[in-house]
């Protein structure tokens, strides 16, 4: 772009640097601390447990533990279920609420309310719905002749129960971001496409979607990262149960770091999960860029 001259480069740098500096300064110590811990045996609650350098033992313990691998697999299952449904429903809702009709602003605000509730409280609210005997959901379902479903009390259902609560809470995130993107799209390509006599679906697929892509990708990245860290809802709804059917990574890390106070193991598990998510996102990013050039 021609207007980017030398002088502007300096301005860009002053735009970029404060954010980078803040992030660097606020995270460097915690990261170094966690990194240091991950090579130590360190029990915060029990100073009488020897604190010493243990090399890669913590990492070894994490990587060879069935609990960690089980948690990893459940986290992925949950991510795939929730992200795909949130994306489809969220974009669909965004298309609805950006129609030029009265009342859309109100609808958009109302649909955003699930996001405004703290995830810990979302867990408690969904308990109201999920209790097989006492809950509302089975009560409502009984009107349409559906037998009680053991939402959070059966290992086969619990993951879905958590997925539903998470989808309920975070679909509005995709909706809101997509709606904002839709409203800032420039209208020219549409008119051109309309004149060419395309169907609505074709317009959406070939005009709207490509324009939405940068925002959708950002939204999806952000959701993926948060879904990877999902914790509060599960902590309240099942705490990983029944059995270990909803044990996710964050619960594993929480249990190691706090409940068992093996902070070294918790830190090592944190770094392993950081590496996994970084690799995942990078691969995703690469594949997107390849699409773009293709």
């Amino acid at each position: 772009m021609a207007y980017i001259r030398k002088r502007n480069r300096r301005i860009f740098m002053t735009f970029l640097l404060p954010a980078m500096l803040v992030l660097f300064l606020t995270t460097i110590y915690p990261m170094l601390y966690a990194g240091y811990l991950s090579f130590r045996s360190y029990d915060l609650a029990k100073p009488f447990v020897p604190r010493m350098f243990v090399g890669w033992a913590n990492y070894q313990q994490v990587l060879t533990s069935g609990d960690f691998l089980n948690a990893l697999s459940i986290t992925f299952q949950l991510m795939v279920i929730t992200l795909s449904i949130q994306l489809v429903v969220g974009v669909g809702l965004a298309l609805l609420v950006t129609q030029r009709l009265p009342g859309m602003g109100v609808a958009r605000t109302l649909l955003l309310i699930p996001m405004m509730i703290s995830p810990v409280i979302v867990g408690l609210v969904w308990l109201f719905l999920y209790f097989p005997e006492l809950g509302y959901l089975n009560y409502f379902l009984s009107f349409v002749g559906i037998d009680p479903i053991p939402w959070i009390t059966s290992p086969n259902w619990a993951l879905w129960a958590i997925a539903i609560a998470d989808i309920w809470q975070w679909t509005p995130f995709i909706m809101m971001g997509t709606a904002a993107a839709l409203t800032s799209l420039s209208p020219e390509p549409y008119e051109a496409a309309r004149i060419d006599g395309n169907t609505r679906w074709q317009v959406f697929r070939h005009v709207t979607l490509p324009q939405l892509k940068p925002v959708l990708v950002s939204l999806l990245f952000l959701r993926a990262i948060d879904a990877f860290k999902i914790y509060d809802i599960i902590f309240v709804l099942t705490k990983g149960g029944p059995g270990d059917s909803t044990e996710v990574l964050s619960l594993y890390i929480y249990r190691q770091s706090f409940t068992f106070w093996q902070m070294g193991v918790g830190a090592a598990a944190s770094f392993v999960s950081l590496i996994i998510i970084v690799v995942l996102i990078t691969l995703f990013f690469k594949s997107l860029n390849r699409d773009q050039t293709a």
Binding site: T153, P155, K239, P242, G243, T259, W261
Partner: protein
Amino acid sequence: MRPFVLAGFAATISVAGMTAVHAKDYEGVELKMLAIGDTSVTRLAPIVGEFEELTGAKVQIDMFPYPGLIDKIVIEASANRPSYQLMWVDSPWVGVLGESGALEDLTDWVKRDADEIHLDDIVPIQLQENTWQGRLLAFPASGMIWHQNYRKDLYEHPDEQAAFLERYGYDLAPATTWDQYIDIAEFFTRAAGETLAGETLEKDFYGNAQAYSRVAGAITHDFFPIMRSFGGQYWDPETGLCAMDGEAALAAADVMKRLVASNPPDYLGLMWDIRTGYMERGEVAQSSYWSVRTVRLTNPDEAVLPTIGEAGYAPSPTGDGSPQPTMTGALSFGINSKASDREKEAAWEFIKWGTSRDMMRRFAEEGSGVSQFHKSILADPALQEKYPYYQVLLETQENAQRRIFHPFYADVEEVFGVELNKFMAGETETAREALTNGCTKINTRLKVFPEELRLRWINDAPAAIFQ
């Protein structure tokens, strides 16, 4: 915390019972308490102004959610300069906090002020509950016992008594053994449309409500008292390693598994008040749990049962009917060992004031509240009239043993929560497998320590305050 609505109310109540006259010795001292939003605290919080009147010390009580509170306490205790001088302590935490030196030893103060605090009137096991290696590290503010609650009105109904006798060959009465408990649970489990105490049921009725949820370790809180009632121990006295896979533990797991059939169908999700709620609404025949919730069974503002029936109370059943120990627990106040000397003394004054017999009597008279631990209060005829379960509380504490107090308590609750829950959910085939898994995990952590240390950790030395 500033006095709120209760302040005016409190002011009208005489403080004549307060011990001695404290000149404003602690003028200028400010104490903060890391606490919970529990009845042991919420009744005190609005009236801390009275303590300031007496002693000049300002007290601020910060209330946090139970999940996460121990984490916050541990982090606070690891800091060199304390933000909190007072700490709310759940009695199983005494081991980990005691071994790490986080709590001030109260033993000498208690001995010094024995008369003032009516030491000999306090149920001894509630004090023992707060000791670590014989030293008293926290003072009870609410003393619990695990006991059974049952539907007295149903048990005394002639039709039910006759039917029960015919079917089981003995009289219907509060269970003294777990086999009886299971019989009664089975007997009272009825579907909607069947008859209960002469009336047709509109909805299903269940025999018992026990907790099987993993949330906040709920399942272990029912499992361990049952294990104790079979004579089971947490630890092997020879090695200091996990003994929770022994015969008593297997029997307890078996009892819980057999009770599933007569439990409400959401048993795997039942925790705390969701479980007690079934009893409080009168939807089950019996339920055993910590006495902190028992008080609700007589209060129509908090429970449905008083309006449709009557609750009865009994000691928890045992394996063979002999008076085996039941289990206690205490919700207590402790002092941060890193506070300054003056703060510590003021904090001790506060503990004495907030847990005093007069204060406890005041709470009992005001209405529902803390679980009492003074013998004279539990034995008071007028209060027994109001709280019929006081007698059971008083009697059963004679036989009671304290809860787990090991520094690795949190590991036990978490690991056995998972393993038992897996067994109940059918993911683990047998109880033996589940319990062995649990013990293996615990032992992995314990085996790095010398046996000598392990044995010290399980040694419940008698409280030095009585010596």
